[in-house]
């Protein structure tokens, strides 16, 4: 560990070797320096100087350049040439200092040059400066040595930490860079230390706050260290954990497995897997661990362990698997055919057994099919439209669709699509059911209903024709015969009157008059029956006249006011249309008389685009919804059917305030009938 304090500086009692072959000069220099507090060793020749340095290296040398024998420059050269002495600062002193001589001295490695005669202050200042410089240099060297030592230690730590934490590596790199910088300046060293501290702090923080259980244990399973998370998830105090063995954390029935684990990690240097942990509270949790053996840099091998709780994940996985199994069972076992279509690629993703059975493709074949392989060309636009809708997120609808089997045969299916996400892709789960039989039954029912309707229309027409024929026969044949009979009776009456009066004649007249009265009654009855069967006025004068007449009769019979809004001229229309309008109006008036309790009725007939529109509205109590929808409203049904048989339509609704409105629209031109 590096400390922030510097190693001890050279003692203030620095040793200075003074070399001068002039004794006065030597004494003067030694005197000055000794008085200043330096320890001075004076020598008077170059040879002696070299010997003195070899015996005990001084902190500084004051060296006279011009000397007998070996001169100062030579001494300087020799000292600087040797590794042991080159670092000693040398100050050259010369009385005849030529510039060349100075340059030579300095080039040889001398630290400084003082010219004689020198001033005492200058000498001392220079000496002090160079001693300080030297001290600083020595101090720097000592630091370097200390750092070197620290470096070695750091190195082992870094190696260890590198394994655990990549981020720490980065910090250490930075520390390493700082360390190199430290070699040149003290500032750099400070930065290095900071970086190191930061790195270690980060590493510790990581471990302390990790959401991963981090621990070490020995090869017996004894816990050596553990992070706070271990305490949190296991429910034991950290102190307690450090006294425990890893087998204590396992559920009782699995504690024996620890030996197997230890054996494995000893053999392979690593082990990972799942373990069933029991917490202090007795709760069982599933953990996933990944442990490694460390043998380097430690006295005894230790195991580095990391583990995390995967109980929830495990449960979710189990639930998912179970759900998947259930889905599979339902999907495969379903009686309905099912497949999943990827909406984007329009490829089939999966299909069930019923699907294979119904369509004749194996599941493998099915996956290679496209939508067009399953439908007739005319059905495709609808299918693609539905796919587009699904892509836009619009809900699909149940639909009846024709499917094509492998052998080309087809069947009707009830299609029930649901939007799902499968493997993250928008897909649609389609369930379908063969409804051929239902469809056939529906078609048969429809055909049957159509036949019934035709039959009913035919019956109605036949009845109308029959009624018309009977009405005419009764009216014409019977009625005319009666008319003739009555004329005869009146003639007889007339002749009898002429024969004179008298009781006998009176009796005869009585008979004749009674007979004539009887005939009158019979005629009235015959006319009424005929008119009820089929009003002759409809065939002879047309719809408008008939409606007027019916309205008049209705008003007379019920006292209910009838307002008419009819065209002046009879519109052109086929006889069947006139009959339908008349019968509907007749039925409506009957209904009003029976149920409505109306005070007035409005009847309007008007031409409208090749059709006629009849509207009858009353101010009675109004038709109820129930009556409208009742199956027993055969009268209303009959009116609808009458209009429908002619390509028209009848509508019944409640009036805005009260009463009932009946609108009937029937085409009057062939083109309109065709269109309808």
């Amino acid at each position: 560990m590096i400390t922030s304090s510097l190693p001890p500086a050279p003692s203030p009692l620095a040793t200075i070797l003074v070399v001068d072959d002039t004794s006065d000069s030597l004494a003067l220099l030694a005197g000055i320096l000794t008085r200043t507090g330096y320890q001075v060793q004076p020598v008077d020749s170059g040879e002696l100087a070299l010997a003195a340095v070899a015996a005990s290296p001084p902190d500084l040398i004051l060296l006279d350049v011009r000397m007998q024998g070996m001169d100062g420059l030579e001494v300087c050269r020799r000292l600087k040439a040797r590794e042991e002495t080159r670092h000693i600062p040398i100050i050259l002193i010369s009385a005849f200092a030529e510039p060349e001589e100075r340059v030579e001295g300095l080039e040889l490695g001398a630290a400084d040059y003082i010219a004689k005669p020198f001033r005492k202050k200058e000498l001392l200042a220079r000496v002090k400066t160079h001693l300080s410089l030297r001290r600083a240099e020595v101090s720097l060297e000592q630091h370097a040595a200390a750092l070197q030592q620290t470096n070695v230690k750091l190195h082992s730590e870094i190696v260890e930490r590198q394994r655990i934490e990549a981020e720490l590596q980065q910090s250490l790199d930075r520390a390493e860079r700082s360390r190199r910088a430290l070699l040149s300046t003290l500032e750099d060293q400070k930065r290095t230390e900071d970086a190191l501290r930061q790195g270690e702090d980060r590493y510790r923080d990581l471990v302390e706050h990790s959401r991963e259980l981090i621990c070490t244990h020995d090869l017996e399973g004894r816990i050596l260290s553990a992070n706070p998370w271990a305490s949190r998830v296991l429910g034991y105090q950290l102190d307690t954990i450090l006294q425990m063995n890893i087998r204590d954390f396992l559920v009782p029935e699995l504690r024996g497995e620890v030996d197997t684990y230890l054996a494995e990690i000893k053999e392979h240097g690593a082990a990972k897997g799942l373990l069933l942990v029991q917490t202090a509270a007795g709760e069982r949790r599933i953990w996933e661990y990944d442990n490694t053996l460390r043998t380097e840099g430690v006295a005894a091998p230790i195991v580095r362990g990391t583990a995390h709780d995967i109980t929830e994940r495990k449960r979710a996985e189990d639930a998912l698997r179970e759900s998947e199994t259930r889905f599979r069972a339902v999907f495969e076992g379903a009686g309905d055919g099912m497949f999943v279509l990827d909406l984007e690629s329009r490829k089939f993703v999966i299909s069930n057994a019923a699907c294979s059975r119904m369509l004749g493709f194996t599941p493998e074949e099915f996956l290679n099919l496209g939508i067009p392989d399953l439908h007739l060309p005319e059905g495709l636009p609808f299918i693609f439209e539905e796919v587009e809708k699904f892509l836009k997120g619009e809900a699909g609808v149940r639909a009846d669709t024709r499917f094509k089997r492998r052998d080309g045969s087809t069947f009707f299916a009830d299609l029930n699509p649901t939007l799902i996400t499968m493997s993250g892709r928008k897909s649609v789960l389609v369930a379908f059911r063969d409804i051929t039989e239902r469809k056939q039954a529906e078609d048969a029912l429809r055909a049957s209903a159509q036949q019934l309707r035709q039959l009913s229309a035919r019956l109605r027409d036949t009845r109308e024709e029959e009624q018309t024929r009977i009405a005419r026969e009764i009216h014409d044949d019977l009625g005319q015969a009666l008319t003739g009979l009555k004329m005869d009776l009146r003639w007889i009456e007339h002749q009898t009157e002429k024969l004179g009066a008298g009781p006998q004649m009176g009796a005869i007249l009585d008979k004749i008059v009674t007979a004539a009265g009887l005939v009158d009654e019979i005629v009235a009855t015959v006319q009424r029956i005929a008119a009820e069967l089929r009003p002759g006025i409809l065939d002879r004068l047309g719809l408008i006249a008939t409606l007027r007449h019916e309205a008049g009769r209705f008003q007379e019979r019920t006292g209910c006011a009838v307002r008419l809004d009819l065209p002046d001229k009879e519109p052109r229309m086929p006889p069947a249309v006139a009959t339908a309008f008349f019968r509907i109006c007749q039925e409506t008036l009957t209904n009003i008389a029976r149920h409505a309790g109306a005070g007035s009725v409005d009847i309007a007939l008007q031409p409208e685009d090749g059709a006629l529109l009849l509207e009858v509205r009353d101010d009675g109590k109004g038709i109820t919804l129930r009556e409208l929808n009742s199956r027993h409203s055969l009268g209303l049904l009959g009116m609808r059917e009458r209009a429908a048989a002619l390509g028209g339509e009848a509508e019944f609704r409640r009036g805005p305030e009260r009463g009932t409105i009946i609108s009937v629209r029937i085409p009057t031109t062939a083109a309109e009938v065709e269109r309808a």
């Binding site: 003739g484 009157e497 009585d510």
Partner: protein
């Protein structure tokens, strides 16, 4: 000499009509047609003073024969007979140029009165119909309904007007009360009135009683 054509497809009715008209107009020359085709042919051949036309004939309808008659013989008067009580037919008939409209069930006296009126250049409708037409057309139609009463009916009307009861009238005329009641109904139908007071006032107004 008056010429009359009876156009009716029922022989019984034709005979009845002929009998009534022959008696009322002994000097008239009466022809018969059994269907519309025959009627048209006769109209082409000969000018009649009057056609008594059944509106309800097979083939082309009586109304078409009426139009044809008006076109072929504008001067010929047409009295339309109908079995239909509805005034709609009457209006149609008059629009097509009929001179009179009469229900076939009407009494012989009415027929005779109608023929007389029409031959004289007038128009004829029954009182009941006149009332309805007036309501429909909004016009008053002048009538002298008692023209249509038979002698016996006129007799009964006078007796009612003098304040006699049906029983008294029956005794005086040697008839049953029921027959007198029937006569009274015929009278009220023909003149379009209903109460005895109204009938008495009517008789006084038309100087039928002294």
């Amino acid at each position: 000499m008056t010429t009359i054509l009876i156009a009716d497809d029922h022989a019984v009715v034709r005979r009845g009509l002929r009998d009534i008209l022959a008696e009322a107009f002994p000097e008239a020359n009466i022809a018969e047609a059994g269907d519309s085709g025959q009627a048209t042919q006769l109209l082409l051949k000969q000018a009649f003073d009057l056609v008594v036309l059944d509106i309800n004939m097979p083939g082309r309808s009586g109304l078409e024969v009426l139009e044809e008659a008006r076109r072929l013989r504008p001067r010929t008067r047409v009295l339309v007979l109908s079995v239909y009580p509805e005034e709609a037919f009457a209006i149609r008939a008059f629009k097509l140029g009929a001179a009179g409209y009469l229900n076939k069930q009407s009494a012989p006296e009415e027929l005779v009165a109608a023929v007389k009126r029409v031959l004289a250049g007038g128009k004829y409708v029954t009182a009941v119909l006149a009332e309805r037409l007036a309501a429909v057309l909004g016009a008053e139609i002048e009538q002298a309904p008692h023209e249509t009463l038979s002698n016996r009916e006129l007799q009964v009307l006078r007796l009612i007007a003098t304040g006699k009861t049906l029983k008294e009238i029956a005794a005086e005329l040697s008839l049953s009360e029921k027959t007198v009641a029937t006569y009274r109904v015929r009278i009220t139908d023909k003149v379009g009135l209903s109460t005895n007071v109204e009938l008495a006032r009517y008789a006084l107004q038309h100087r039928l009683v002294d």
